[in-house]
Amino acid sequence: MTLDTVLVIAAALFSVGVYGALSQQVVVMVMMGLELMLNGVILAAAGLWWFLAPAPDGQVLLLVVIAAMTVEMAMGFAVATLLNRSRKSDMTDMATDLSG
């Protein structure tokens, strides 16, 4: 395990997440893509922390990324609920226009 290998694995996770976030039609599946992207960010940050500067500050940054994942999940579920209530749908393609 080296920094290069950890970062390549993180890049692979992030790229898979990019594919999911761009290609999926269901809101919850788009959220899964975003989660995978943040999964890659966490791994990359952990690798950089351990192999370059293992000070406590890096761990605090990881906590912030995990908090960002929490916010993304909560708001994603709220938007999915709103979309389902207002449009009777959970597809992104049904929410391409503004109304009201």
Partner: protein, 189 residues
């Protein structure tokens, strides 16, 4: 790092990426949820290999619970048994694939081509304790910022998700003497 730990890292790395790919390859949302949970658990285990005991454990615990919640939401919204219903709901598959491959080439190329500096400093003896001291000491402002952000997220999520707002309860001019209940005359929800 010992050869055994190195082998464990590669096994976990392959599992995390393969499970990540499986999220968008399996034919039901329930399986996709399980695949994503496996990917997160594998990454959490890699964090444990990097001596990030606290971060690794909370990543595993949080993501397993999140996937459970996600499965409930899918059952709510899809109105079907997500474990049995095959699905393929994608758009612009080729374009997304090309972009994702491009992102991977750029990121992995950068990771391999950059001449990374040597490690500066040594990790503390007890990393979890040092994290706690940082959070309660020099990095307290970070936590003081994250805390109201999480509270604001709770409020915003509730406002978005609730079916009835104040205009539904108190009328368009917000002057109703008593709030209207769900389904009562004048309730617009």
């Amino acid at each position: 790092m010992s050869p055994v730990l190195d082998a464990v890292f590669w096994v976990l790395a392959v599992i995390s990426v393969a499970a990540g790919i499986a999220v968008f390859r399996v034919d039901s949302m329930a399986r996709a949820t399980y695949a994503l949970a496996v990917s997160f658990v594998a990454v959490g285990a890699i964090l444990l290999l990097l001596n990030l005991e606290y971060i690794g454990v909370i990543t595993i615990l949080m993501m397993v619970m999140e996937m459970a919640v996600m499965a409930i939401f899918m059952i709510m919204f899809m109105g079907m048994n997500p474990a049995l219903m095959p699905m393929s709901m994608v758009h612009n598959k080729v374009g997304s694939l090309v972009l994702a491959l491009g992102v991977f080439v750029v990121l992995a190329g950068g990771a391999l081509l950059v001449d990374w500096p040597a490690r500066r400093g040594e990790p503390a003896g007890d990393l979890t304790r040092s994290l706690g001291e940082a959070v309660m000491g020099s990095k307290m402002l970070v936590m003081l910022t994250v805390s109201p952000l999480l509270f604001a997220t709770l409020v915003a999520a509730l406002v978005l998700a609730t079916p009835r707002g104040r205009y539904d309860r108190f009328g368009d001019d917000l002057r109703a003497a008593t709030p209207r209940g769900p389904g009562e005359q004048g309730d617009q929800a």
